[in-house]
């Protein structure tokens, strides 16, 4: 018994919210205090890897549409790549701030995947609207890891990155498979596609 798409989105929203709170806490206390306990240091790379594995599971079940399959597979790869790099950063194998560019690339790929795999217009239904909104939010949020690579001492990047995930979580929680947005819902939304 497979869950509906909206239920999978809400589960990811809960995961992203926890992920965002952890990032926010790290931004508040600073990385030195945050990484004093190893389990905490490994928490967010682990969450990224765990999210990546779950995105592969979603990709496996997204066979109803090639674009959905490709988009979820791309997110899975982006999340796992970012997770592996963060794991190496936490272990001290990678020290250059420029490694933050991998996270920036992951965010950019994720944002573009969101935008490309939504084939309906912004006002078709709430799910279409949110796919566009999340896609553009992730594309704009590339600024934060990019800033962390160029100006690593500025804490604003860490706060911005955490707040981005809170915003994505709120958007995913708002997602419904078929629901109106701003009182508008296309007559075609929710109907079976014409063969």
């Amino acid at each position: 018994m497979l869950p509906r798409a909206e239920i999978a989105h809400w589960l990811f929203a809960a995961g992203f919210l926890f992920f965002a709170l952890v990032l926010l806490a790290e931004a508040i206390v600073g990385p030195d205090v945050f990484r004093r306990r190893p389990w905490r240091a490994y928490l967010w790379p682990s969450l990224l890897l765990f999210g990546g594995v779950w995105l592969w599971v979603i990709a496996i079940y997204s066979t109803f549409s090639t674009l959905h399959l490709l988009a979820h597979a791309l997110w899975a790869q982006a999340a796992i790549a970012a997770g592996v790099v963060q794991l190496a950063v936490v272990r001290g194998r990678l020290v250059a701030p420029a490694w933050s560019l991998v996270t920036a690339a992951g965010l950019f790929v994720s944002g573009i995947s969101f935008l490309v795999h939504e084939q309906n217009g912004w006002l078709f239904a709430r799910s279409a609207f949110l796919h566009h909104l999340i896609g553009w939010t992730l594309v704009v949020a590339v600024l934060f890891p990019l800033g962390a690579a160029l100006r690593p001492r500025w804490s604003v990047w860490a706060y911005g990155f955490a707040v981005t995930w809170i915003a994505v979580s709120v958007m995913l929680f708002s997602d419904r498979d078929v629901a109106p947005i701003f009182g508008h819902l296309s007559e075609l939304a929710g109907r079976a596609p014409v063969p």
Binding site: M1, I7, F18, L21, V29, V33, R40, F173
Partner: protein, 100 residues
């Protein structure tokens, strides 16, 4: 030295201590604020909580109820992440003070 005249070290230390106090308060507040957000959401949109509207709902609807997920995330953060973080923040503050 009295309450009006202090050493320069002490004067410089006070804002830093206040900043750490604010950080501790903020970290401690993250969990409860999230829990409160979930509870407010449940009251604002009760139809998103299956316990309130159980008719015609499937197993996944009982397992995944968005406002309750938010409460759960807040609880997880408040009980698992925040206490150790506050301890470490305070310990780091004491170590800094001891180092002068």
């Amino acid at each position: 030295m009295n309450e009006l005249v202090t050493t320069r070290t002490k004067a410089a230390e006070e804002p830093r201590v206040a900043r750490r106090g604010l950080r501790v308060l903020t970290v401690e507040a993250i969990g409860p604020v999230t829990i409160l957000g979930g509870i407010v959401w449940a009251f604002a949109q009760p139809y998103r909580v299956t316990f309130f509207y159980p008719e015609g709902k499937g197993a996944w609807d009982w397992f995944v109820q968005p406002p309750l997920l938010v409460v759960l995330v807040g609880l997880l953060f408040a009980l698992v992440v925040a206490p150790g973080l506050v301890d470490d923040l305070e310990r780091s503050s004491h170590e800094d003070a001891a180092a002068g």
